[in-house]
Amino acid sequence: MDLLVVDRVVKNFGGLRVLNQASLVVKKGTVTALVGPNGSGKTTLFNVIYGLTPADEGEVYFRGKKITRYPPYQIYREGLALAFQLPRLFNQLPIMDNLLLAAPVNSGENPLRALFTRPRWQEEERALARQAREVLELLELTPLALRPAGQLSGGQRKLVEIGRVLMAKPEMILVDEPAAGINPVLARKIYATLKKLQQEKGLTLFVIEHRLEVLFDFADYVYLMDAGRVVLEGTPEEVLAHPDFYTIYAGESRPWRVL
């Protein structure tokens, strides 16, 4: 089943055409990877899918529903979650709170419930704390649970960013370069966990990844982007065996000039 469909999306920044009729499909239950040279528009495509950047043309569908003009919080409620390339943590809040804020249901976030149904949301908070602990154990951050996120190193911030989308328990996650800034051992562990969630829970993953060796182990399907459009697609073996792959992948992507 086609879970996510991106149909001929165009995005211009001033005179730069950063996305130029980009189209792709992510099938339910797969790990799909998006690769491409720096500046080819991968992050921008994620931002368009997630409603953070409005598309100039084209449509995005999730589970067959058009989500092109949805704000991010509504897209999240449809079952999609995004981990930013540059982590956007709540720096003054503890890591724990950063994770709790990603939970899909927390009735005490309603001001009236916060005042009048305290025992109920306190119970929910305890349950969420246990879920957060599982995420923290996985990311090897448990002892730091109550540290303000602003005190973390770059790699740890990235881990918390990924931890937040795991807390969200969505149907599909978008992760922008999950392994960037994380030591290789932990990076493999994160990938292994994501893969496990895919296999056991049917989670769909759409990742932007730079390192090709990871693709063979983890990706079911690969899209190669160049200058704002998808130029190659297939299984990792097919794409990497393509005669044009390395020239494009190693090249410098220049967005199209339209004005």
């Binding site: 005042l115 969420l128 704390a129």
Partner: protein
């Protein structure tokens, strides 16, 4: 003069200003919403209370009605600005304060315009001492209730979302929450509390006129919050007490020492200087913000200590 009346006056003004500073803490301290028109919602509550009291409604309905009317005005005025960049909220609230005062000044029929309007007292207990005591109880009772309410909100998942909005609104959106909804609810609650303070103020003084609602009121409230500690309800309360006492101190001082400047002006120079010094040397205020305390934090403390 009977010292009881001076004590009553001090406590009641501390109560009124602490309510304002607590409401600003919810808005600015937790959510970083720069409300520079606090006095407008205070004024709206005072006039709404007065008009309802003249319509012979029972006092508790006047307080409630005044608070709700101020809350709704706060919501309606700020809603358009909440979708825009944050500085628009500052512009909108600041100008609303001026507009409301100008309108009330010009409007003669309903609330007396520049001449002001009398406000019926709630308490007629037979002696003015008993009335003063009742007024203290009323004010401090309202303060205690609002404090508990705001403290419960600050240490709940709702309060956590507010702090998250202060840190990074885009991330809040990406995690499935609509910041506009939260900010609107904050300005509604904050304006309700400011409105309640207005009702208490009007009722206690038995008379209000537009000159009582100058922008200096907003300035004093900001001063209280910054000094006491933005983000902390105890800090907002402490700021209310300290600034109001300093305010009175300078007024008493005026009777004992002669200065080349009017002490009332000197006071504002002093307060301005104090704000600058705090922002340089202790930007978090006297009582800095603590973490959100819910059952989840207790759980985490338990597992960390057992590691």
């Amino acid at each position: 003069m009977d010292p009881l009346f001076y004590l009553a006056d001090t406590l009641i003004f501390i109560g009124i200003f602490s309510l304002l500073s607590l409401s600003l803490n919810l808005e600015f301290g937790l959510t970083s919403l720069g409300n520079f028109g606090k006095v407008a919602f205070f004024m709206a509550g005072a006039y709404a209370y007065t008009l309802l009291a003249h319509a012979a409604l029972p006092p508790y309905l006047c307080f409630l009605g005044g608070a709700l009317i101020a809350g709704l005005i706060g919501l309606v005025i700020t809603l358009p600005a909440l979708r825009l960049r944050e500085d628009y909220l500052a512009i909108v609230t600041l100008s609303f304060g001026e507009i409301l005062r100008t309108v009330v000044k010009a409007e003669e029929g309903l609330a007396g315009g520049v001449r002001g309007i009398s406000v019926p007292a709630v308490f007629h207990l037979g002696s003015s001492r008993a009335d003063a005591l009742a007024n203290i109880l009323l004010t401090l009772g309202c303060l205690a209730l609002c404090f508990l309410l705001l403290q419960a909100l600050a240490h709940s998942p709702y309060g956590r979302v507010l702090r998250a909005i202060r840190e990074d609104e885009v991330a809040v959106k990406a995690l499935g929450k609509n910041p506009v909804y939260f900010k609107a609810s904050v300005l509604f609650i904050g304006s309700c509390i400011a409105g309640l303070a207005g009702g208490i103020f009007a009722q206690y003084l038995n008379f209000i006129d537009p000159t009582m609602f100058l922008p200096t009121v907003t300035f004093l409230v900001w001063m209280m919050l910054i000094l006491g500690g933005a983000g902390n309800n105890w800090g907002a309360l402490l700021g209310g007490v300290v600034v109001e006492l300093m305010n009175r101190g300078t007024r008493i001082m005026k009777d004992f020492i002669t200065l080349p400047v009017d002490p009332n002006n000197l006071q504002f120079i002093f307060f301005g200087l104090l704000v600058i010094l705090i922002l340089i040397f202790r930007p978090q205020g006297i009582l800095p913000e603590g973490p959100v305390k819910t059952a989840a934090r207790k759980e985490a403390q338990n597992w960390i200590s057992s590691l």
